[in-house]
Subunit: 336 residues, 2 copies
């Protein structure tokens, strides 16, 4: 009898069981569903696609918020206090996901250490999921997009997607969210150090963190400096002019203003229809990105390409072969 | 006899004839070589690759300068007066190329109307070539990269590559040049209107144009405003902090300072080795871009994909099919 129970316990849940559990909002089933989506095993991928297809009609009803900032900007503290605030004051069901292109190399992962978010992870209405691992940012991004759909089917109304402001990941997060928030620690002088060029121009809002104690003057100065800098950028397609808010995870300063900003944004872009156009555009881009990533992956994993690529690169770098000729040679191996 | 001459005149020059003419610096042979490179005919493409391969050892010895700015910023006037200045004052051999992603649609082309550059095109040491036409920005960019190599083999020491600051073309130009100059017309208020977001962060230098007559005060104000804004950006990998210079094509104000800036940049990045690393990186990227563009082109021109793509997009936009499932369906047609 015990053996039967153990076997049943180890048995993987069916797509239908997962689907029903997710629709009921069961957190542990949602976690299992996301584990399925994140799996790289071929037999899991078919099941995952079936699950996503089932959840699709129940998805889309959340506000998807991207959050980025360089390491040390205070992302974890902000997400913890802001998340608790949203659950306590606004009765939100909150899911927190992450994309971390560096986790592959460091074997660490943002959000990986949930103990950093003691208060938030203790909440019944919070679901926290660390960054998936994957062979490429494209793969990781696709898994996160699919996880968003499952979280929405499970009834999460607000989804925060965290990333670090290095590499290409913030572009990926920008492409899967409705609102993009940039966290910035007021420092001395070289304010944007460590943040990728271009990232400021993608944001819908900016939060200066650690505006407390001896930091207040510096933070308020940074706030107006960034607000002025943002005015120099061309108007965003959304018709929304980005705002800068000084916040503190210690005093909770600015958290209501950040939420008010996001709500105002949502109203504005739903009224002018940009919200819906952007979502449609993102859907189309997800399809195109999947095609793109798959084509590139298949090319670079081709055995002849893998063997010849280093030689071709060498010949190009030494100026012995033109980049175009080398490319065409590699392409001919692939199409053979 | 006349018929024989006419026939000879119409006969296409051999790769060897083109190569020898280009090495001698013959402008009309260079023009023919670029025409060959730009041709979309398969029999021309093999000849073109042979010519490029021959020129390759003689290429690389120029300074490649990208110039962008929105329509109306005064690019043509700047290039004309700056070009004449470089030839007269610094004895440069100057080639001017262009990438224009809009020429496909408008059937116009930047640099197409050479009469706009009367003085420059009259110079023996200037070679001006309008934007090539092509089916994609990728194709156009590749042709421009190849044309750069031919111009260098022909002894042109300074190459200006012009583009308009819309779409993706400035990223392409940035990826094939050593120095990237952004032209900006001082306007009232919304300074960056019309310039793609992110472009300011790519530039190594900025020239405020039309700093003359009644415009001087406005231009100088814009100069310090942009210089302040650029300080907010993180330090570039090159180690070079971008400068802003007020210029006039009428009074020639600022032209020596622009050239001095570019020379200082060249010295800095050659000393710290970034110049050479960047060139190597670009070579590798050219190969990767060629592979990428070719793979995508072959996918989207596949007859089954062309037939099914609009239906798949429709299903995705209506939420009937997940973007990932639709993508995989299209990919299966392709690999069949």
């Amino acid at each position: 009898m015990e053996a039967v129970l153990a076997k049943r316990r180890r048995k993987e849940p069916s797509v239908d069981e997962l689907f029903k559990g997710i629709l009921k909002g069961d957190r542990s089933t949602l976690a299992k569903g996301i584990t399925l989506v994140e799996s790289n095993l071929p037999q899991h991928q078919n099941k995952a696609q079936e699950l996503i297809q089932k959840c699709l009609p129940y998805s889309g009803n959340s506000l998807r918020i991207g959050i980025t900032g360089s390491p040390g900007a205070g992302k974890s503290s902000f997400i913890e206090t802001f998340g608790v605030y949203l659950i306590e004051e606004h009765k939100k069901k909150l899911a927190v996901l992450a994309i971390d292109p560096t986790s592959q190399r460091t074997k660490g992962s943002i959000l990986g250490d949930k103990t950093r978010m003691n208060c938030l992870s203790a909440k019944d209405d919070a679901f926290i999921r660390p960054s998936p691992s994957g062979s490429s940012l494209g793969g990781v991004a696709q898994k996160t997009r699919e996880s968003i759909l499952l979280c929405e089917a499970a009834g999460y109304s607000t989804i925060l997607i965290e990333t670090v402001g290095v590499g290409q990941s913030e572009t990926a997060v920008h492409g899967m969210t409705d609102f993009f928030l940039l966290l910035m620690l007021a420092g001395a002088g070289d304010e944007l150090q460590g943040i990728k060029r271009g990232i400021m121009e993608m944001c819908d809002g900016m939060a200066i963190t650690k505006c407390d104690g001896q930091n207040i003057t510096k933070a308020l100065a940074a706030r107006s400096e960034y607000q002025n800098a943002l005015h120099l950028f061309p108007a965003a397609q959304s018709g929304w002019p980005p705002k800068v808010i000084a916040t503190s995870s210690v005093t909770k300063e600015g958290l209501p203003e950040v939420w008010q900003m996001i709500t105002e944004f949502e109203n504005t872009v739903k009224q002018n229809n940009w919200f819906y156009q952007n979502r449609k555009e993102q859907q189309k881009n997800w399809m195109e990105n999947t095609i793109h990533d798959s084509l590139m992956f298949n090319f670079y994993k081709h055995p002849d390409v893998q063997k010849e690529l280093p030689l071709a690169e060498q010949a190009v770098l030494e100026g012995k072969e033109s980049p175009f000729k080398a490319a065409n040679r590699l392409l001919s191996y692939f199409s053979r």
